[in-house]
């Protein structure tokens, strides 16, 4: 009975699914869900993909997302890495296309320097305070 209900629901859902299928057939992205044959290249692509943000999700990298856009980006990354591009070149291309937002890997720039400066300042201040306190005790 449950099976029947499921089948019925699937059949009813089919018309809804058609536009989705239509979309799928536009640009084929075989590498969205398929690894590169060469394990070294795949590892390279994987290391890059976990540092790229899925723009359609909340806080997931393109390596852990079901979103179609993440799939397209995985395909892009894998084909470019397979074609011999360096990971950083692929990242730069994606950043030029989608902005800094797409890259989780922090790099020093006019908009990110406080991320690095503040911890350094805090460590210096804390170190100074502790050192002074310790000296005061002796």
């Amino acid at each position: 009975m449950r099976r029947l209900v499921a089948l019925l629901a699937l059949i009813l859902a089919l018309p809804l699914a058609v536009p989705v299928l239509g979309q799928d057939s536009l640009p084929p992205a075989p590498y969205a869900y398929q690894q590169l044959a060469d394990p070294a290249l795949e590892a390279k692509a994987q290391d890059l993909m976990i540092t790229l943000r899925c723009l359609k999700c909340q806080s997931q990298s393109i390596a852990d997302s079901d979103a179609p856009m993440a799939g397209d980006m995985r395909h892009q990354v894998r084909t470019r890495i397979a074609a011999g591009e360096e990971p950083e070149a692929v990242r730069a291309w994606l950043v030029s296309r989608y902005g800094d937002y797409v890259s989780y890997k922090p790099h020093l720039s006019s908009s990110t320097w406080p991320l690095f400066a503040i911890p350094v300042i805090v460590v210096l201040v804390a170190g100074f305070a502790i050192a002074r306190r310790m000296r005061a005790r002796k």
């Binding site: 499921a6 089948l7 997931q60 922090p106 406080p114 911890p119």
Partner: protein, 650 residues
């Protein structure tokens, strides 16, 4: 009628909180005040009323009373009962009601049982608790009424996010909330002690069980949340440095630091102002977390700016509470004397390192979480993710672990390295051996390598404090410490091993194909439809075998929910002691094959076992402390009785 009872109870509770605040403020003064007598009864009654209100909410959700707006928006009559109940707190209004209920219950509990501190300090503490509570009552009653009615009554509800229809997640938010709100007690104790200038070891002993309790719940909540993300999101990740995750991690970091500094204050009367400061910071982090999750600011700063009512309210509460506490701190901290001194090479010294490092990690998580929100306000979008948090956090986490190898072995006040040389050297040598072996065996990242080495060193050294002591007469709290530290090592080992040795296989498979991944073989036998009460799915029937051994079933599903419509992935997890095989099924390709995703994740389960061990260690410490307090109390009682008898006979 029931929703109206719930709402009325809530209003009454708010009025009692106002009375409690007034009585606390007047009573905490030098000369006392007759109104002080109402403070404790008001707190207890308030707990009862909030409990009643929450029961009313559970009741309308259990019956799916669609005339209540919240039920209509978040529930559905076809849902299983347990998820109907979970729906009560799986939304903004309900979760805020849960928040004030837990807070009122905690306040009622301290009012009922806590009699060790000077009464003035207790009145100030309960007053502070009522002050914080009042803000949240106002928020609930003025802008998030959970009992609002809906006319006309709709024929059916909107359902609950399918991702949330999971037994683990049903209990995840309440667990975290108990932790978040439990820290409000530490906050109130800190403010109370500051206001009445009684920052004493006794204060730390009274506060400590509450911090421990909250911390245990936070630990379990974070562990469970991580496991949920792992099996529900379908891609094998278990921590994303997502702002919502960070929101629960930050109070945990602060509470961990507070726990350790409170033990210094309790045992040695040192670190007085610092402990007070951490008490304030810990609950502030709970409120920051609530703000992040509840204001909608995470989806978009601009969306928040468009509809800022709720967010602004929490932000105002945040500013009033934190600002008020810091103002009290600034005016009173100088009147708290520094406390006992100690040499850097001592238990206290090691615990100071622990506190500094935990605070630094907390600062980094806070910075990394808020920074993208700040820049977005200026229309610059940046992403801060694992490549920032992992290495920058490790800069502080790993040295802290190195100190953890030696810290628990040191004596209070002053010690020498020579005394603890051998166990430390042995632990270090073992860690080093693991480091070299792992580095030679395979090409793994520095962070994972150091993580493996440190986890081994900490695991070994965590039980050294038991050496040379009678195991039967050892205080339970010491067992708790050892097991908690061991759990941290186990969790770190799991994290490092997973990141170092995990293998991934993405493949489009025909029925009958065999896939190899690491030591596993997996065979796809069939793909069939399946159905549940509110979903349909495609289910893969697979057989998997570890190193050619027996074939076990694996049945991953791709589920489709219809109220509201959403796709989810139900993964199949095949667990062994040394790791998990993780199997997910995706879509069908155009040539009729099925997309399969498989991961072999060595030792990944140790992450959560480690988390549970940490919570177990905390629970043992809690039992040990409370039992010790009870013994002391009964001894004191007997002493007083004997004295009375002597006086009577004299």
């Amino acid at each position: 009628m029931i929703p109206e009872i719930g709402l009325a109870a809530l209003w009454l509770a708010a009025a009692l909180a106002a009375l409690q605040l007034l009585g606390g403020l007047l009573g905490a003064g030098e000369n006392g005040h007759p109104l002080a007598g109402v403070v404790r009864p008001a707190a207890v009654l308030q707990a009862g009323l909030c409990g009643l209100s929450f029961l009313c909410l559970l009741y309308v959700f259990a019956l799916t009373d669609l005339s209540v707006l919240l039920v209509a928006n978040n529930s559905h009559s076809m849902k299983p009962l347990i998820f109907k109940l979970a729906g009560a707190w799986g939304n903004h209004e309900g979760s805020m009601l849960l928040w004030v209920t837990v807070m009122a219950l905690a306040g009622g509990a301290i009012a009922l049982i806590e009699r060790r501190l000077p009464e003035r300090t207790m009145l100030a503490t309960l007053g502070a608790q009522a002050f914080v509570g009042l803000g949240f009552y106002a928020f609930l009653l003025l802008s998030s009424n959970p009992f609002e009615r809906l006319v006309p009554v709709p024929p059916e509800g909107n359902g609950l996010n399918p991702l949330l229809q999971d037994i683990g997640l049903a209990f995840h938010p309440p667990t975290l909330y108990v932790g978040y709100v439990g820290l409000s007690v530490a906050f109130s104790f800190a403010v109370g002690a500051l206001l009445t200038r009684s920052v004493t070891p006794e204060f730390a002993r009274v506060m400590r069980p509450w911090v421990l309790g909250a911390w245990i719940f936070l630990t379990i909540g974070i562990t469970a949340g991580s496991y949920w993300a792992y099996y529900e999101l379908g891609w094998g990740g278990w921590w994303f440095w997502d702002p919502v995750e960070n929101a629960s991690l930050m109070p945990w970091l602060a509470a961990t630091a507070l726990l350790h500094s409170a033990s210094v204050l309790a045992a040695r009367d040192a670190l007085r102002t610092w402990t007070i400061m951490l008490g304030v910071v810990a609950f502030s982090m709970s409120m920051v977390g609530t703000f992040l999750v509840r204001s909608g600011i995470l989806t978009s700063v601009h969306a928040f700016a468009v509809d800022p009512e709720r967010g602004s309210f929490i932000l105002a509460l945040l500013a009033i509470n934190i600002g008020g506490a810091l103002a009290v701190f600034a005016t009173r901290a100088s009147t708290v004397s520094e406390g006992e001194r100690f040499s850097p090479m001592s238990r206290e010294g090691a615990l100071v390192v622990n506190n500094v490092m935990l605070s630094a990690i907390l600062g980094i998580v806070l910075l990394g979480t808020l920074y993208p929100l700040l820049t977005e306000a200026f229309d610059v979008k940046v992403s801060v993710g694992p490549p920032y948090f992992d290495p920058v956090g490790a800069i502080f986490f790993y040295p802290m672990l190195a100190v953890l190898v030696i810290g628990p072995l040191l004596r209070w006040r002053k010690d020498s390295f020579a005394r603890v040389k051998w166990p430390v050297l042995i632990a270090a040598a073992l860690g080093l051996a693991v480091l070299v072996a792992a580095a030679l065996l395979s090409d793994i990242s520095l962070l994972a390598l150091l993580g493996l080495a440190l986890s081994v060193a900490v695991a070994v050294s965590s039980f050294v404090p038991l050496r040379g002591r009678s195991l039967r007469r050892l205080p339970i709290a010491v067992w708790g410490m050892c097991i908690g530290h061991f759990g941290l090592a186990v969790a770190l080992f799991g994290m490092s091993a997973d990141s170092a040795f995990q293998q991934e296989r993405l493949i489009a498979s025909n029925v009958g194909d065999v896939v190899n991944i690491g030591p596993w073989q997996a065979r796809l036998d069939a793909v069939k439809p399946a159905a549940g009460p509110n979903w349909v799915a495609m289910e893969a029937e697979m057989k998997v075998s570890y190193q050619g051994g027996e074939w076990r079933d694996a049945r991953p599903q791709a589920r489709h929910f219809w109220t509201p419509p959403q796709e989810t992935s139900e993964v199949a997890l095949i667990t062994r002691w040394n790791g998990q095989l993780y199997v997910a099924i995706g879509n069908q390709t155009q040539d009729g094959r099925w997309q399969l995703r498989l991961w072999w994740k060595p030792f990944v389960t140790w992450i959560w076992y480690g988390g549970l061990l940490i919570a177990l260690g905390g629970s043992l410490a809690l039992v040990g402390r409370v039992a010790g307090d009870l013994r002391r109390r009964s001894a004191k009682g007997k002493l007083a009785e004997r004295r009375e008898e002597q006086e009577a006979s004299a």
